[in-house]
Symmetry: C2
């Protein structure tokens, strides 16, 4: 069944493995021709077949197929040897002639390597958008539409994805995407418990329940540890354990100097870790600047909002309340964008050797920005506004000066006198971030791009029709008009139209989706005691999220080139960090607001500083102890696939050992009895032996050798021993009788 | 030179590799004889030569020598194969016939394995003091006296041990002892800096200096991270990386049931981790009971001491002050001993599979006891007595009731009125624990046992002389009398006397020495701000410690059987934990006492709870951040030996790869050009190609195949591409001209 549908998928795609998009818009025609010739020759040299077809907007589509079996086998073999050299594979790969891709994703990954790896590693050295190949705008495989459709329909009827489903995602899009879906699936499954428990707590105790907070923290710890083991399990199942060491160098890596390795003798570009460390120090001012810049925007908007919604009583209030929201939604993305571009440049400057290291470092930097934009507003409400509002609000006079021209003095004064903290604010804010923002995010991420794409395509086709009419006259104004533009063959028309559409799509970036999930986990860990229905909202959201992310990949993005991975990478640390911070914020929230459901009276004096800090201290250290215990406990259980792999590896070696040892040991067995020199000696006394030794001494043997000759074989030694034992027993008897 | 001295060492020891001490005191003579026979036969079966000599106190000494080269080689080969099976070795071991022990310690370890491993693993299955072999009281190698002396003289002249010296320790006593000395050496070297800095701070700022505290914490972090890398480096140097997985099962392990492994098909005893976890839960009440029991003793003695030394003014004061000290030194060891025995039984009950796991678990339990006895007294002074004394002291009235009969009422009242906190108490206590206690510890550990041993031996000899005189009459009352007792041969006399002496010595336990160092590190991390000369004291102490520990091993202990290790084990975590706790206590100490050098006024109100907690909060989190940064930084630098090992492993595989790939790739190179079908085609237009395709279509090829036939080879594809580019350029031109 599976191989049949795979064939039909390849069939639908005209057996094209990859499509290379070459843009000839920026260079002059003759240069473009030369580049194209070089491209095609390089592809041919590594053993790939190519066909050229016109694309949209001054692009050429180069279809690539690994038609020569031998070349593909060699590439597979080389890749496996490379794995083996780096210790990713434990066993030497089988012979080149029997190397077959085990999955669709391995095939695609190998062909991608054939296209992009540098010449010395056996590839064509085509680096999209970089250096000599900057006009190669994309290298992508084609979607397998039949399978895509099948899975989407299948999953929309299921609650949980099975292991097989995850394997299928991995087969189609590679391990890195597979890991994202596996994580999302595990997270979704784990959410069931806090959702049910949170719902019960919400019914029984309302907000800020201590029991919910404790269970929630504990759940976080268990989930993270579970996922760590799950990762290990999957990396064994997908055979990608330790794969990060095989990553090729980044093209953009600039070595400081070339060094000949003293042991391997290879010359490699080296960038000293110390220099990089110095450059990494720039992260500190970056983090500070990010915090200050974003913090200032958020705090200002927050202050304006409070002023307008809760103090200001003048005209236009119903319109003015939108000002801070508008300001926020205009300023935050701008500032974030600016900071992200700074972070990217910082990251480039840090000059990482591999793409993985580069991505990890960038992820960490962007996480700082995300952390501030996502959680700071709630932090401000919970830990600044509610406890200190009555101290801070008078200083909001600044805004009074601004509005003075529009509002009479009396209005303002009245307002201030009647000011009281809005205790519902915190809950509303948490609900906004965990429900509204999630829905909005879903819309922005999936629905809006889908509609945008649709309209853009319609507009394009309309425009093309227009141009087509001008060029080819009114007689071609039938249904096929936009397609016939490219002068396609009848039986390729449909296929080429689809490929042109796919070439026009965005790249899929799995990091963005992972980040979204981590930020979501953060809300749960940090603030869910405020409103225990948070996990319920996330549970529903994530069921949809999994399907919509898949939909996004297959409809709105180019098919991603498979990338191997054995982890979700830096996000795992992020989850751990958020859960840890959660143990602090949750405890603080519960201490501050548990007294009454409406929040504290608003006077900071009601909250005792030392008691708050003591609560945090105990909560955090309890958290750390529990985490230690859970880690110790979890480490005792070996995941299924890890155990299987270890056993299998052990068995392979053992079988080998037995085959080489078997014959040999049976040979040796016979000689040992022959050495038992004392076998025949029947009657030995200690005396006679000593006489022997004395006799030998005259033969010139040294004292040490004589020591070992007194007792010939174990039987003699045993006899001597027995005689010693008996003589002492006799002595003891004698003494007794005396 | 080295091999010569090794020979002379073996020569001194009469080439005896191991000595097995067999006690025939408890069983009747015939049973003993049978057991001895079995023992000797088993030894012979695994290929070991044996000689029996009488020992002291109803013991027999069985000298064991691996005289048959083939048996030793087989045992070495088997051990290496076992390593390889478990992934400790990366390469398959060379052939059996060329297997040679690389070091003295490997030779001894292998022979030890031949004696103790169970039959199915190729050993004689002799388990000292356990089961059938409970009369085998010891299995030990003999000291290499020449080398011992040489090293001791050599090191007493040196400040630092070189890497070579550490290698020599490892060659003699195995890796686990080697790791202890390497740790002690690294620790000593690292202490130089805080000693110098502490001394300067003591001169400039006195006690509780903020700068000293910060530097001290930072130093702790760096030291621990440095040692982690050092460990990795050493385990590569000594080729023991990952060796803990090869540990054989403990004899005492009781499997719950036998299970056949579904993959390997082997039957193994299984003890479920869940059952063990349940049993481990008993550690919680154990820790609580330990804390309460020891805490109560310490707190009571502490209270009595304060009462007597600072409140009580009655008669006999100068004698009474010793009461708490006497109580402490009597009660604490008793209670510790009791708790340790409970811990051991708990540990037995937890039923660990390997000795390593067992030792680790026991270490953790004993550490709880050590932590309380070592640090609680200072904790009490710093965080209870000094801040709260004026609140607590009135309650010491209880003791007044006790002393009432002896002291007049007036005395007591006067005393209480004049009570004031003794601010010097804390410093005195820290000095006591870090100087006096270290010196006392050194004496108790090294000098006292040495003297005790000497006297015991003299007493024994005196007694033997007495018995000897009775047995053999007055005529043998010359110098050789005690030796001639055993009827030894003239040329063995001296040797056997020495062996009997060694058999009488204690076993060396490296864990105790490691514990001592960790506890010492704890004082430095936790309390050194109180008295910045602490590291100076430790620096001096540890120079002596290293030499005296070596002296202890070679003079007061049996030579330890080499045990492989790749780490100092659970103590590493202990160091990290102590350093972490240090970040809390140091901050608290500095906050509480930094205001004046004499300590706080004694009123708890002077210390603000929230400020103290805030200080702790910031200090701890700063510590954690710094630790994270230092870890990240250190992980960038690969230790020398690790890098070398990785490179070598890589090279071995690469060379192998080149040798197998070389020929093959040169064969294939030739075929590729033959496939370039388009080479000869000189003039192709898109039109003609399409005609071809149409022609093929009539031949029944399907659309997909035809797609790939339109452009034959890369040259055609390139031409078609160029024509597309040019046509579009022409279009653009046309448009411009229109």
């Amino acid at each position: 069944m599976a191989s049949l549908s795979a064939k039909s998928g390849a069939h639908q795609n005209f057996y094209a493995d990859y499509v290379i998009q070459y843009s000839y818009a920026s260079a002059d025609p003759s240069r473009s021709s030369e580049e194209l010739e070089l491209l095609l020759r390089k592809l041919w040299e590594v053993g790939l077949q190519s066909e050229v077809r016109p694309g949209e907007d001054s692009n050429l589509l180069v279809f690539v197929r690994a038609s020569r079996k031998k070349s593909l086998q060699r590439a597979i073999y080389q890749s496996r040897i490379r794995d083996w050299l780096h210790g990713v594979r434990s066993s030497e790969p089988e012979d080149e002639s029997s190397a077959e891709p085990q999955t669709e994703s391995e095939r695609l990954r190998i062909i991608n390597q054939m296209i992009t790896l540098p010449r010395e590693d056996g590839g064509a050295g085509i680096t999209p958008k970089h250096g000599h190949w900057k006009n190669v705008t994309a290298v992508f495989p084609l979607h397998d539409q039949a399978k895509n459709k099948e899975y989407l329909t299948d999953w929309s009827k299921k609650t949980f994805l099975s292991e097989g489903d995850l394997d299928q995602i991995r087969d189609m899009f590679g391990e890195s995407v597979g890991f994202y879906f596996a994580f999302l699936q595990s997270y979704f499954r784990f959410l069931l418990f806090p959702a049910a428990f949170g719902f019960s707590c919400w019914l029984l105790f309302g907000s800020f329940s201590t029991i919910y907070t404790i269970v929630n923290c504990l759940w976080g710890v268990v989930f993270i540890e579970y996922w760590k083991r799950q990762e290990e399990d999957l990396s064994c199942r997908w055979q990608t354990k330790g794969v990060s060491v095989v990553r090729p160098k980044r093209k953009q890596f600039k070595p400081e100097r070339e060094v000949q390795d003293s042991i391997t003798g290879e010359i490699r570009g080296v960038f000293p870790a110390t220099t990089r460390l110095q450059r990494q120090l720039l992260q500190i001012p970056f983090a500070l600047v990010s915090t200050v810049a974003l913090g200032a925007i958020i705090a200002t908007c927050f202050a304006i909002e409070i002023f307008i919604s809760e103090i200001y009583n003048g005209p236009l209030k119903s319109y003015l309340v939108f000002i801070p929201t508008i300001l926020l939604s205009a300023l935050i993305p701008t500032m974030s964008g600016l900071l992200v571009s700074v972070a990217t440049r910082l990251n480039d400057y840090e000059n990482y050797e591999t793409q993985t290291a580069y991505d990890t470092a960038l992820t960490q930097k962007i996480f700082v920005i995300n952390f501030i934009t996502s959680y700071l507003p709630i932090f401000l409400t919970a830990f600044v506004y509610i406890p200190f509002a009555s101290l801070i609000v008078p200083y909001l006079d600044v805004f009074h000066l601004t509005v003075r021209p529009f509002v009479s003095k009396e209005d303002a004064t009245t307002a201030r006198a009647t000011f009281s903290i809005n205790p519902d604010r915190l809950r509303k804010q948490v609900i906004y971030f965990t429900v509204t923002a999630q829905v909005v995010g879903f819309a922005m991420e999936t629905i809006v791009p889908f509609l945008k794409q649709k309209f853009a395509r319609q507009y394009k086709e309309y425009k093309k029709k227009q141009t087509g009419r001008i060029n080819s006259g009114p007689e071609s104004d039938d249904n096929d008009a936009p397609k016939s533009l490219y002068d396609d063959h009848e039986d390729e028309k449909k296929f080429l139209t689809r490929v042109r559409k796919e070439a026009d799509l965005d790249d899929y970036n799995v990091t963005d989706d992972l980040r979204e999930m981590c930020i979501q986990f953060g809300y749960l860990a940090l603030f869910s005691p405020v409103w225990p229905l948070v996990p319920v909202s996330f549970l529903i959201n994530n069921w949809v999220e999994l399907r919509s992310d898949f939909f996004k990949i297959i409809v709105e993005c180019k098919r991603p080139s498979p990338i191997r991975a054995d982890t979700i990478g830096p996000w795992l640390d992020t989850l751990g960090f958020l859960s840890w911070v959660g143990s602090i914020t949750s405890a603080a929230l519960v201490y501050m607001f548990n007294t009454s459901t409406d929040g504290p009276s608003g006077e900071p004096s009601a909250i005792k500083g030392w008691a708050l800090l003591l609560t945090i201290f105990f909560s955090e250290h309890l958290y750390l102890i529990v985490r230690y215990v859970v880690q110790a406990m979890m480490s005792k259980f070996e995941p299924h696939n890890v155990r299987r792999e270890n056993s299998e590896r052990y068995m392979v070696r053992k079988r080998y050992l037995e085959s080489t040892l078997g014959a040999r040991s049976s040979d040796d067995e016979e000689e040992i009895p022959a050495k038992d020199e004392s076998m025949e000696l029947s009657d030995i006394t200690r005396k006679t032996l000593e006489d022997d030794a004395r006799a030998w001494s005259s033969h010139g043997k040294d004292a040490e050798e004589r020591f070992w000759m007194r007792q010939k074989g174990w039987r003699e030694a045993s006899k001597v021993g027995t005689s010693i034992i008996k003589s002492l027993a006799a002595d003891a008897d004698k003494k007794k009788h005396q």
